[in-house]
């Protein structure tokens, strides 16, 4: 699953540790999600989206949607 976590974090000048603290997860979790090594559960994905004040689909995009749009 693709995501814009790194961009959204950079826009706010947050480090991975800052984001991890705000989400109540480990820095490793943020890194794994950001690099696409781990897909978060739906509750955590909602928490991430709510933290950035965005809808979940504005943070995460499905790989199939990503391909069909020709990114």
């Amino acid at each position: 699953m693709n995501n814009r976590l790194k961009v959204l974090r950079a826009e706010r000048n947050w480090s991975q540790s800052d984001l991890a603290d705000r989400l109540g997860v480990s820095r490793q979790s943020v890194n794994a999600i950001e690099t696409g090594k781990y897909d978060p559960s739906l509750p955590l994905a909602f928490r991430i989206a709510e933290l950035f004040g965005l809808a979940i689909e504005q943070v995460f995009t499905s790989p199939t949607q990503h391909q069909s749009r020709g990114f």
Partner: protein, 196 residues
């Protein structure tokens, strides 16, 4: 303080795990093939306790440095150290009572059960870690590493069991199951199988 000393690199930690595993394996083999008596048992108990402590300290420092340390992990480490101490105490007591008092019947079973208490405590601690870890990614990694440990144990037990059945290899006591599982788990944590 946990973060006072520098954390080992991944390779350094893996080297520590392998070095300790090799020393313990040599010690276990010496105990199986030679009659080392109480001195051998005491030596092994001290080695196990010291290695357990150094591994957990090194693991904790690495986890803190890598940003994947959690309160549940801290509780797990303390429980495992407690379990290690109980194991050493139980093993000492059982060996001494067995050699000096030579109990029979139910008492013999009770004495033989003593070393298991610490190991069962460790199994309980591993279960509690999975139940108490609130970080879903860390829990996911633990489950993967545990499955790798289980796969290692099942594979080795099956292959060795049949080798043993055909008199090709010496007998390995069943209590080796937990150390083998732990080695598989540790190996997975040090490699891509547990990190994903």
């Amino acid at each position: 303080m946990a973060g006072a000393d520098p954390a080992l690199s991944r390779r350094g930690f893996a080297a520590l795990v392998i070095a300790e595993a090799v020393v313990l394996a040599i010690g276990a083999a010496a105990m199986i093939f030679y009659d080392l008596g109480v001195a051998g048992a005491v030596g092994m108990a001290v080695l196990v306790a010291a290695f357990t402590y150094t591994l957990f300290r090194a693991g904790e420092r690495r986890a803190i440095a890598a940003g994947n340390f959690s309160p549940a992990m801290g509780r797990y480490n303390r429980r495992m150290l407690t379990a290690g101490a109980i194991y050493v105490l139980g093993l000492f007591t059982a060996i001494w009572v067995h050699d000096e008092l030579q109990p029979n019947g139910p008492a013999a079973f009770a004495v033989a059960f003593l070393p298991s208490i610490g190991v069962l405590w460790m199994v309980w601690a591993m279960g509690r870690l999975l139940a108490e870890e609130t970080d879903e990614y860390l829990r996911h990694r633990m489950v993967r590493a545990s499955l790798f440990g289980l796969g290692t144990l099942l594979t080795l037990a099956t292959v060795w069991g049949f080798f043993e059945q055909f008199d090709l290899v010496p007998h390995v006591p069943a209590w080796a199951a937990v150390p083998i599982f732990a080695l598989g788990l540790g190996f997975a944590n040090c490699t891509r199988w547990g990190r994903m």
